[in-house]
């Protein structure tokens, strides 16, 4: 099967290849979306945990500060 015949697909090349292209696009999009969702989520959670850690550390800081003032 020569290269040209292969792409021509007996005249139906356009339909066959657009189907395969669409399937490839959708599969890759599914995979990429899941991975980007994950990285966005991990970044957001890390920021949230850092905030929580800062929130728990802050009160002691303020308290010791007042104690020093008094």
């Amino acid at each position: 099967m020569t290269m040209h015949e292969f792409f021509d697909m007996g005249g139906y090349g356009f339909y066959v290849w657009s189907c395969y292209a669409a399937t490839a696009v959708v599969f890759i999009a599914l995979f990429v979306m899941v991975k980007s969702q994950r990285s966005r989520l991990v970044k957001q959670l890390q920021r949230q945990y850092r905030q929580e850690k800062r929130a728990t550390k802050e009160p002691e800081l303020k308290a010791s500060h007042n104690a020093a003032q008094v």
Binding site: M9, G10, G13, Y15, C19, V26, L30, L41, V42, Q48
Partner: protein, 252 residues
């Protein structure tokens, strides 16, 4: 009462660890199968005596249509389990299965239309199977938009659960009524009962592609479930370790 295994089975933490190990394998196997299937389908299987080369679209249309039906069932069963026994993991599975199923339904419609053009001369044919597929897409979109309409995710799960259960009861009715209404579509190409009307080389390609698509979709669904688990259990300590662990991992 040995509900212990059932309870353990439904703990998001357990799922997260199991999927950590198995997911790369599932994804790897599905990609290998897909490559083999495409190679078999495109290169060394005979063209159809009638349709010529355009039959190669079948290797995409049939697996995606099958996956769209299967994932609706997976979604409905998971939603029912989640609704009845209030298992969060089941709700997460249903929510993760919906977009994958919707993508497969869209692909099935796309490839069906592109296959119909050379065979029947028009892009869209009101044939029984394609119409049922279209209605299935509406049911998926209804499920996803209903779940997103609630800001409280737990209530969204329960609402979507009710809709999934009502939908799954209606699937056979819709399919049957559309089937009665007008059928142009050729009979089932492969079914376990009748002798397959396909040349063995085409049959191998088709089976390879069906397994590849199902494995790939399940892998995507499980990846989505892992994201769902992380975002819903974010106040749990094991999630903190996993997330922070990942950060340290990156730094090293």
């Amino acid at each position: 009462m040995n509900w212990q295994w059932f309870h353990r089975l439904s703990s998001p933490k357990w799922f997260y660890q199991i999927s950590e190990r198995w997911l790369p394998w599932v994804m790897g196997v599905s990609l290998v199968l897909m490559a083999a299937g495409i190679y078999q389908g495109l290169f060394n299987s005979v063209p159809d005596y009638q349709q010529g080369e355009s039959v190669r679209i079948m290797y995409l249309h049939v697996p995606t249509a099958f996956a769209s039906m299967m994932f609706y069932m997976v979604m409905a069963i998971a939603a029912a389990i989640g609704y009845i026994w209030r298992i969060k993991l089941a709700h997460m599975a249903a929510i993760s299965a919906a977009p994958v199923g919707a993508a497969m339904t869209f692909l099935a419609l796309f490839t069906g239309a592109f296959w119909g053009k050379p065979m029947w001369g028009t892009w869209w044919v009101w044939d029984a199977r394609l119409t049922s597929e279209l209605i299935l897409l509406f049911l998926y979109l209804g499920f996803i938009s209903l779940h997103q309409a609630f800001e409280d995710r737990e209530v969204g799960d329960r609402a979507a659960g009710v809709l999934a259960m009502v939908g799954v009861v209606n699937i056979p009715i819709i399919h049957f009524s559309v089937e009665w209404w007008n059928t142009l579509h050729q009979g089932a190409t492969i079914s376990k009962f009748e002798k397959p009307s396909l040349d063995p080389s085409m049959l191998i390609a088709l089976l390879l592609m069906i397994f590849a698509v199902i494995l790939f979709c399940s892998a995507i669904m499980m990846y989505r479930m892992r994201n769902e688990v992380l975002s819903r259990e974010n106040n749990k300590s094991w999630v903190k370790e996993v997330v922070l662990g990942k950060q340290i991992g990156k730094m090293k």
